[in-house]
């Protein structure tokens, strides 16, 4: 028994297919779903979503906020912004990270910069893990 997974962003379906396991990060912590998981709805933080495919492959995505719903062996990840590992522009992410770090010293808007830094780090981590 496998899971039906849909990774959806507001503009399109990023990925859909079957998987053995889905790992996501809710705002309270990481959670993994196997088949026959109890129905679940959670809010996602900034973090990775990892989908383990039945053939042993792994799909990774950077998800910046969103929701996950699980019911009847169907996992739906609704992300505000999401990128698959293959779509991430590492150079741009590094640029964003540097910008966030340099302006962190001068700028007062710490919360937004912290989030930007987190996003950039996540992108780089996911792109290089694949």
């Amino acid at each position: 028994m496998t899971l039906q997974v849909e990774l959806v962003s507001p503009e399109r379906i990023l990925w859909s297919g079957e998987a053995d396991m889905v790992i996501a990060r809710t705002i309270d912590g990481e959670i993994a779903f196997l088949s026959n998981h109890a129905p679940f709805i959670g809010a996602l933080g900034i973090g990775r979503v990892q989908i383990n495919l039945p053939d042993g492959g792994v799909v990774r995505a950077a998800v910046h906020g969103g929701f996950v719903e699980v019911s009847n062996n169907k996992v739906t990840v609704l992300s505000d912004v999401a990128e698959l590992s293959g779509d991430i522009d590492v150079a741009r992410a590094q640029e964003a990270l540097r910008r966030a770090e340099t302006s962190a010293q001068s700028d007062a808007n710490a919360e937004e910069l912290g989030a930007a830094k987190l996003r950039a780090e996540l992108r780089i981590a996911i792109a290089t893990a694949a």
């Binding site: 959806v8 507001p10 503009e11 709805i41």
Partner: protein, 326 residues
Amino acid sequence: MAGGQERILRRRIKSVQNTKKITKAMELIAASRIVRSQQRVAAARPYAEQITNVIGNLAGAGAEVSSPLLQINDNPATIAFLVITGDRGLAGAYNSNVIRLAEREIRAAKAAGQDTRLVVVGKKAQSYFRFRGEAVDASFVGMTDLPTYENAREVASFVTEKFESGEYEAVQLVYTQFFSVGTQRVVSARFMPLDRSQLEAAPASEGPKPAYEFEPEPGAILERLLPRYAEARLFAALLDASASEHANRQRAMKSATDNADDLITRLSRIMNRARQDSITSEIMEIVGGAEALSADKGSPVDLLLDRTFPPDLFEQHDHATPHAHQ
């Protein structure tokens, strides 16, 4: 001056042909844009459906929220109208239809003693309302051709903020719904507060309701979901409006191209007639001139020039000196 008229007509036809090339190109571009817009609408649908589903499940699980987005006010004192038009004209009655409905709604609200505000998307609405001296709280331009989710978020967050602060007590969305390439309809729909009954009615179809676990608790999730829901709805409206704009533009440009064709045919006929007229009158002139000459002389032989000279010009005279060769 028949030749002059012909030249003017030729120039006119040339210019109509050039216009036709432009309208034809715009028609083709618009046609391809419609297809792309439709694909984008289809691609955005899963998210919209899922988010509605999740909200329905949350509501079904008894998530209670005090979110102002759900507080229904039966008699709002301030209504904001969010009007979505295009940035460009050349789309038939697309922009004016939206503006006309918005005007009508605003007038009705004012007649009912309500305060009205305006938030506009698209240059056409912006310039129209500015020209009419209506106060526009915010205008968003440059996004209707190819709206992204980021655009929807920008507009939605502005409106949501105003709504949550109580500055707007209701928000009405005026835009064009896309049904098919042939059918679009201008509608005015309530955008805020969100329609609770619609959310709760959504998931009822799918069998027994599963008992969900929530992380964090349902109220907190719903609190985060509602703004996303508003964004998704606005995004859907922007996509619809954009598809409608392209459909209207394609239609307008098609009829412009057809009209150019008609005009070219008509002008060519007039030009050909003018040319024929000038040729005919030239022939008439030649024939007339020839006839006038032959009427003078009787026989065509008389037209030969050397016959007009007498054979011997000097025979009639007496000569003082004899001819040298005689």
